[in-house]
Amino acid sequence: MSNPSTRYLPAGLPIPVAEPDGLSAPYWEGLRQGKLLVQRCGRCNTWQFGPEWLCHRCHAFDPAWIEVEPRGRIYSWERAWHPSHAALRGHGPYIAVLVELPHADGIRMVGNLLGDPEQTVAIGADVEGVFEHHPEQDPTYSLLQWRRL
């Protein structure tokens, strides 16, 4: 499921880290361990992503972090051609997808769609997560990418 030697986009893009107050630290630590963790309120069971200090529905503080299966379906997508960062110059097109997780009340997350960057993309298509680890980077981090089923 993971291969530290492959990356979808070139090195040099910003590295994700938790905020100084640690709000998203469990999420990033989960990815490093090959797990997708998202928030789910312990009181009213509402799913929440990205994280916040309280449940947006019942206002209970510190929603629990729950592991969910990294699979979903494409809610929207884009194919970027223009390099908006020096690291992308000369790289060519790439695809970003917005994936919804039906088994977690439709929370959404952004990743890249692996495979041919010029492939046809269909909204509604099923995808599964692929962890992309970067142990060589400082700080180390992992991303969650997606591929068609």
């Binding site: 893009l13 998203s24 990205g50 947006h56 809610y75 194919r79 051609w81 960062h85 992308l88 909204i123």
Partner: protein
Amino acid sequence: MTGRDERTLRGRVAVIGIGETEYYRHGASPDPEFKLALKAILAACEDAGLDPREIDGFASYSDDRSEASRLAAALGTHRLRSATMQWGGGGGGCCAAVANAAAAIVAGLADCVVVFRSLAQGQYGRFGQAGGIHTVSGERSYLMPYGVLAPPQRFAMRVQRYMHEHGVRQEALRAIALASYHHAQANPRAVMQGKPLDVEKYDASRWIVEPFHLYDCCMENDGAAALVLVSAERAAEFRRKPAYLLGAAFGSGHRAAATAHNAPLYATASFDTVAPDLYRMAGVGPSDVGVVQAYENFTGGVVMALAEHGFFKPEEANDFLTFENLIAPSGRLPLNTSGGNLAECYMHGFELVLEAVRQVRGTSTSQAPRSDVALVIGGPMVSPASNLILGSEATL
């Protein structure tokens, strides 16, 4: 206590002067940003016939760096009474800043407020390039490592979803770009005057990010623009035909800013709640509006914003959004009659507010035949977004 409908800005303040600097390509301004702001403010005062020392308030948005107290000191104003900054980035605040200034006047906090935006990207860097960042947290951490770096990539998926849900075709986006460029050809202030756009040139232009071609994306520019607001009672003291504020609104719907594209209503320009608020305050509806300036960060946002302001149903976008319908003076709904963010100048939408004033005055270079009620829509797809309606004296 008074009900919300009695607490209104309708007809209480008027724009008495507008002014701008020369508009430049990004990085091309010979003047630093603060100097641009001063020039635009003085131009607006000159237009009104107002002694700049009478200004007692400043309002802006998007973290404008030309700070109110420094402006007051530089201009030697007699006193400072109001200094308001609208939270939020991009052009979402271009109408909200006017609303905040108007509210200060109506509430008795200030008498004569300047609203402005100044930008010198050669001095401070561009919006369309993300560089010099090693680590990111919060909202950006869920996007930037995946190449969702700058505004084009941040908004394309929202538009793609909207096009999917409502069957909107690329031609609808193209018509908006063509109308803006058409109007810019008549406007000597426009950066793109002398650089017309046609269907072939649009279709042949490169993708920035699908579904946005190059010409679906706003420019980036240097310059400044300003207007002067006073209470309606004082409007007749000044030499220009007043443009009265009929209404203004800002904000967004339920959890519109939920992190990492998790807004429950995703495929929206953020006016689902804001447009009804505006029409309610202004006491007019979409059929009363004769001319529209709609912020084009990207043409797709304009499609959504116009639909949310009731000009057509989303499913009717392809039929309504044609070049013929959008141009002055003959079109059904003349749109972005100065050239707007695409072709006049990207002054974060403040050039659109000035153009609405010109329409009410009857002095646009692409004058609409029905211009007593002029709508401005700011910063679609951001939160908070904002909008306003200006009207002539006949609409009061």
